[in-house]
């Protein structure tokens, strides 16, 4: 079960013609898919499109009613390869994943797909993870569009525009026999807004129809001589067809034409930001009624030469607002204008930031530079963000007081089962010395930050083991350590990492973090998930899988909170004489998902009068000496500090907040790391049974007598209040 349920939102997918639907961007995309008569959908979860997969999963009943096939693909490559169904059959298919990482993985399939071309519309919905909040390398999907000649749509961040783009995307794909990518920036995916719905459309041909009526056309298979023909087709037929469709349908937009002899060209996804920048400069209004002509590229690739020439030939100068680098579009514009002999000056990255997200602030700066030079009379506003940082009215004017603000990067959640894995690893390294640790993608990558500071490289999803492949030497007893999540393991790590290490006899300890879900992306189920999933097959063991590919030394530690046991298992694995890879599967359920499951169950049990015990940890302030060694081995958000309640002492003491879920890692660390005796666990018993009551009364009798001697003695010395 995914972290977030869209059970109520998916009901909106049933809305018909004319209904105003309000919700998140990803809901709009799903609705648009159904309105387009899509026949099959797949994808691989990852922010910012994880919720799209979750919505589709929660909508499986509606999808089934419409005969739409949906699968949770094993990887982005799998998802992309699914689109092969649209090669011979006139059926529409869509897949989704995070980009650029997803495109990296999917590229082989997509290059083949775009070589042979498609008959049915094939749409790839990309969650462009770029800028603030991104968790990956900063690159652009644009390059993939260029290299394979797939078209790239980049709609305005507006619900209606996004819905229209999905529908137009299928048509463009069919009109040009080319797969189309639709790019949604991070914030667009989580955009809340509204649009007017249309009726859902059943696919005219379903996947069942296709299976029952197989078709094969040799000219679509990527093998010479067809592959040479494909390249010709791309340039001679598909590209012109796409240009024709884009022009005719008016997918790109021009606003304010004729208002001035300078202009702005902007990627659709940045349109709202550009308009806000113009509002701040006083040359546009909230409805986009601009004084400076704007050409909005809702299709970012291919560029439509004739539209660009038309727009530019009446302008002295234009500014290209293009996010990320390299400046592919700007280079392309230069070539188009030069070839056409258009004298218009072209600006872009010379006036705008070369790298980084194009926020309102960045775009306002660039636009202001451009307009100051070419159309100063259009500027009537002086937004504070343009003031020099030392200007008293600048929003960034340096204040001593803000020097106290420290960064707060993301980290492991309260009670996270991955935390004790790294506590144990830190303790094992304390005994055996430092090792080279190859990290992977997933929540476990938070280990690279304080307090663990573990992990040297991360080479991509599922590539934790492969990332240390070269560091394999028979001349040392020291192994390398690789980390891999269950998500990365099933994505490709089983073959790229484990199989590789077996085959090459790599002396490596691989720690597979098995938390029951693809947790970092929002708790989606995997092959090895422990829970029942009504539409998927789960509970497939990771240990069996690694043994299946030939690992001899494999151990499953079924409770990661037992820090000492885990530490000892690490030490065993790192000191064993057994050659080849050693695999430890560290297994405990993701706490976010566990709490979501357990909390309601607990409350029900209390209400039903069942005996249940609530556990939480605590720290005795008087026993704690305020050295915070416990924090340095854990970092749990619920293990924090508070002012020392003892008037004689000054340093803050450790404390456990009410968020504590009683995972046990504090106690386990206190033991494994020989911390102080301040930690205790409190068990609160709800609905005690007979034994509880008898035992308690016996205890109270004795304890109150012993306690009296202690308290009487202290009373002689302590102030009585």
């Amino acid at each position: 079960m995914a972290e977030r349920s869209f059970a109520s939102e998916v009901l909106k997918l049933r809305h018909g013609d004319g209904t105003v639907v309000s919700g998140e961007g990803i809901l709009a995309v799903t609705k648009a898919l159904l309105q387009s008569g899509v026949a099959y959908v797949g994808g691989y979860q990852g922010a910012p499109i994880s919720h799209l997969m979750d919505v589709l999963g929660d909508a499986h009943e509606i999808l089934e009613e419409l005969d739409v096939y949906f699968e949770n693909s094993a990887s982005e490559a799998t998802a992309a390869a699914m689109l092969a169904a649209s090669v011979h059959y006139p059926i529409r298919g869509a897949v989704t994943f995070k980009s650029t990482v997803g495109l990296n993985v999917a590229s082989d399939a997509l290059a083949n797909l775009s070589s042979g071309g498609v008959k049915g519309g094939a749409l790839i919905i990309l969650g462009e993870d770029y800028g603030e909040g991104s968790s990956i390398m900063q690159e652009r999907s644009h390059a993939f569009a260029m290299k394979s000649q797939m078209w790239l749509m980049d709609p305005r961040p507006n619900m209606t525009a996004i819905v229209d783009a999905v529908e137009a995307g299928f048509e463009l794909s069919e009109a040009s026999n080319t797969p189309v990518m639709l790019e949604l920036r991070l914030r667009s995916c989580h955009l809340h807004g509204s649009f007017v719905a249309r009726d859902n459309v059943r696919p005219s041909m379903t996947v069942t129809d296709a299976i029952e009526n197989p078709v094969r056309e040799l000219s679509r298979v990527v093998l010479p001589p067809a592959s040479f023909l494909h390249e010709q087709e791309k340039i001679d037929q598909r590209w012109p067809a796409a240009v024709e469709f884009i022009r005719e349908r008016g997918l790109n937009e021009v606003f304010g034409e004729g208002k001035a002899d300078v202009g702005i060209i902007v990627q659709g996804g940045l349109y709202n930001t550009a308009n806000r920048a113009m509002e701040l400069l006083g040359c546009s209004d909230p409805f986009g009624d601009t004084d400076v002509p704007v050409y909005v590229m809702n299709v970012a690739y291919p560029l439509i030469d004739s539209e660009i020439i038309d727009f530019c030939k009446t302008k002295r100068a234009v500014l290209m607002v293009e996010e990320g680098q390299p400046d592919y579009i700007e280079q392309n514009l230069n070539a188009i204008l030069r070839r056409a002999g258009v004298a218009c000056e072209l600006h872009g990255k010379d006036m705008l930031a070369e790298v980084g997200e194009y926020t309102t602030s960045v775009v306002t700066h660039g636009l202001s530079t451009f307009l100051e030079q070419y159309l100063p009379e259009s500027i009537s506003g002086e937004p504070a963000l343009l003031l020099a940082d030392d200007h008293p009215n600048s929003p960034f004017v340096a204040k001593d007081s803000t020097s106290a603000v420290e960064p707060r990067p993301p980290g492991f959640c309260t009670g996270c089962p991955e935390r004790p894995i790294f506590s144990a690893l830190k303790l094992a390294e304390r005994e055996l010395g430092q090792h080279h640790v190859s990290a992977d993608i997933g929540c476990h990558l938070f280990s690279i930050n304080a307090p663990f500071d573990i992990g040297a490289t991360t080479m991509g999803y599922g590539l934790g083991s492969a990332g240390a492949a070269a560091l394999n030497s028979k001349k040392t007893d020291r192994q390398t350590i690789a980390i891999m999540g269950d998500g990365g393991f099933w994505h490709n790590g089983l073959t790229s990492g484990v199989g590789n290490a077996v085959f090459n006899d790599t002396d490596q300890l691989l720690v597979v973090v098995d938390n029951d879900y693809s947790a970092a992306t929002g708790g989606q189920d995997l092959l090895s998930s422990g829970g029942e999933n009504p539409i998927r097959s789960t509970k497939h063991s990771i240990e069996k899988a690694v043994r299946g590919v030939g690992v001899k030394w494999a151990k499953t530690v079924p409770n990661t909170y037992k820090v000492a046991e885990l530490r000892d298992t690490f030490i065993d694995a790192l000191t064993t004489k057994q050659p080849g890879p050693k695999v430890i599967i560290a297994q405990s359920e993701c706490q976010l998902n566990r709490q979501r499951r357990v909390k309601p169950e607990f409350q029900e049990a209390v209400k039903a009068g069942k005996r249940v015990v609530r556990e939480r940890f605590g720290v005795d302030a008087e026993t704690c000496t305020g050295d915070h060694a416990c924090v340095r081995i854990s970092g749990c958000p619920s293990l924090t500090i508070k002012p020392n309640p003892d008037p004689m002492r000054t340093d803050p003491v450790a404390t456990v907040t009410d968020d504590c879920v009683g995972c046990g890692v504090c106690g386990a660390n206190a033991h494994a790391a020989s911390l102080c005796p301040s930690f205790y666990r409190t068990d609160v018993i709800h609905n005690p049974d007979f034994t509880d009551r008898v035992r308690t009364s016996a205890r109270s009798w004795l304890i109150s007598r012993l306690s009296k001697t202690v308290e009487d003695r202290a009373a002689a010395f302590e102030r009585q209040t």
Binding site: P48, P392, S401, V405, G618, D651, P677, V710
Partner: protein, 550 residues
């Protein structure tokens, strides 16, 4: 004039929270509030793994629909980014996040109404420091005040806790109470009701948040002097200091009463068994130090016995005699009274056992666990006695032999390697701890006792020597070096090593100019890391001290 500067602009709201704190819920309520009441609303956030427990910004824009209709029937173009200097309302779930809003330019004095919880959620760096790594909340308060047009600050976190609700509900109440949005209280509450989840608790927290918005925010104790004088911005005059919480008032009254009693009736500040010692405090010590000394008397008596209190007072007397400021602030004496007591009551097994079984402690655990008075609770201690802690608590000769014995270390290591879990609420667990606490009379014959007492005396010799030399600030710093001796096991051993290094450095510094500030610097360096490497590096790099590093 139309357009942005003619008022054709959305209401902009940025919410700064940490992932998992309910910032999304708060944004959803605002969206629902706006949409239901005739606004076009757009909200965005950055989610995913980037959100887990880290800083997260949610952003909402609201545009009046009537205005939208005038705009040729088209929808307004709303932005997905907060623009520095253009945010009307900032809501921060925590004080440092409020500071971050100011730092990032979202919260500005000409425009922004800042609604922030004055509670702190400490960062990893603040929590990890072996000493006190907390940033000064006053700086953050100053940023909130000087960086906003109107600052609505209250401990919204506590309000949420009091109502068993979440901070987002209390902050939503604060937003309503701020009257910064064109909606009334009923409209706000309806948005909460529509969410249909924990509505009653949310509305309770909402009500407290609403009321809190009417009370002036706490004032910073520091002057944010680098803030340039406002030229054109209209600053709302800062009102009177807010009413203190009842707990703060009670604590202040207590302290006041204590100081008074220490002067006039010291015996009331200790138990009946310490009457003589209270009299001695009154007769022999500077007035300013008496309250602290009486705390030290209580502590040393409970720790050991009345003789030990006398020994404590003898020790502080040595320092008080050389305190140049005895008639006035008596800082050196106060610090000695504090640090000598803390050291003399070092944490050993017997003392920890006593702390665990005090009835006040069991009550505190019960309150903290939110157990009803009649509810059954069990308390389990996680103990991990180590070989040297055991040899330390044995009589000197035996302890010394065992400390050297490898086989003893191994045996104990094996026995306790997994640690002990003791159920203090059980018959066996309580009796065991009780018995350990009763071993107090054996303590003076222990190996550790002998070592600690000797170290205390030589430390005080140095303090007295420095003060006699006329360098009271250095004496004071030497006293405060006691602070680095903390922790148990390995942490304690390293702290003791750092302490020894500091004492050597102090000896080296004695007689030189600004010795006190050099030592203070070194002593805070000692608390920046766990293994003392920062201190060793500082000593190695220092031209002022040459201490052989062990």
């Amino acid at each position: 004039m139309s357009g942005w500067y003619g008022g054709q602009r959305p209401i902009t709201i940025a919410i700064l929270a940490m992932g998992g704190e309910g910032g999304g819920v708060l944004a959803d309520w605002i969206v629902s509030l706006g949409e239901t009441n005739g606004y076009t609303v757009q909200s965005t956030s950055v989610a995913g793994v980037a959100q887990r427990t880290g800083t997260t910004v949610y952003y909402v824009e609201l545009y009046p629909a009537s205005e939208a209709e005038r705009g040729k029937g088209t929808e307004p173009v709303l932005s997905v980014f907060p623009a520095p200097g253009e945010v009307d309302i900032v809501i921060a779930s925590e004080l440092m996040e409020a500071g971050r809003a100011v730092q990032r330019g979202f919260c500005t004095p000409d425009r922004t109404v800042l609604i922030a919880s004055t509670s702190r959620v400490y960062t990893m760096a603040e929590r990890m420091s072996p000493g006190d790594g907390r940033v000064d909340s006053n700086l953050l308060l100053a940023a909130a005040q000087s960086g906003s047009k109107r600052f609505i600050g209250a401990d919204f976190e506590a309000l949420a806790r009091d109502t068993n609700s979440v901070i987002s509900a209390a902050l939503f109440g604060g937003l309503a109470g701020a009257e910064a949005l064109p909606f009334d209280r009923i409209q706000f509450e309806d948005a909460v009701r529509r969410s249909n989840k924990g509505v009653d608790a949310s509305l309770d927290a909402f009500a407290l948040g609403f009321a809190a918005a009417g009370i002036p925010a706490p004032l910073s104790a520091v002057d944010d002097s680098s803030q340039p004088a406002s030229s054109n911005s209209v600053r709302v005059a800062i009102g009177p200091r807010p009413a203190k919480t009842s707990a703060q008032l009670a604590a202040e009254a207590d302290e006041h009463e204590r100081v008074d009693l220490a002067l006039n009736s010291p015996a009331q500040l200790v138990g009946p068994g310490l009457g003589n010692q209270a009299d001695r405090v009154a007769a022999e010590f500077p007035a300013a130090a008496r309250s602290m000394l009486l705390r030290g008397c209580e502590r040393t008596a409970v720790y050991q016995d009345v003789d030990y209190v006398d020994r404590y007072l003898d020790r502080v007397t040595r320092v008080a005699r050389v305190d140049p400021d005895a008639e006035d602030g008596a800082e050196l004496t106060i610090e000695a009274a504090r640090n000598v007591a803390l050291w003399m009551c070092y944490q050993d097994t017997s003392h920890v056992a006593l702390q665990k079984i005090r009835s006040e402690r069991i009550e505190r655990v019960r309150t903290e666990a939110k157990a009803d008075p009649k509810q059954l609770i069990q308390v389990r201690e996680y103990l991990h006695p180590q070989a040297d802690e055991i040899s330390d608590s044995l009589p000197v000769g035996l302890g010394r032999r065992l400390a050297k014995s490898k086989s003893f270390q191994r045996t104990v290591g094996k026995l306790t390697s997994k640690g002990l879990v003791v159920n203090t609420t059980s018959v066996v667990g309580y009796s065991m701890l009780w018995a350990m606490a009763r071993m107090r009379p054996m303590r003076p014959r222990s190996f550790r006792w002998q070592r600690e007492q000797a170290e205390i005396d030589s430390w005080l010799d140095l303090v007295v020597a420095a003060a006699r030399d006329g360098d009271a600030p250095l004496a004071c710093e030497i006293v405060e070096c006691q602070r680095v001796r903390k922790g148990y096991g390995e942490t304690y051993a390293r702290g003791r090593e750092s302490f020894a290094v500091l004492i050597d450095a102090a000896r080296d510094l004695q007689g030189s100019e600004d010795a006190a500030s050099v030592l203070a610097e070194l002593s805070s360096t000692a608390l920046t890391d766990e293994d003392g490497s920062a201190l060793r590096a500082a000593i190695a790099a220092s031209s002022r001290v040459s201490v052989p590093i062990r």
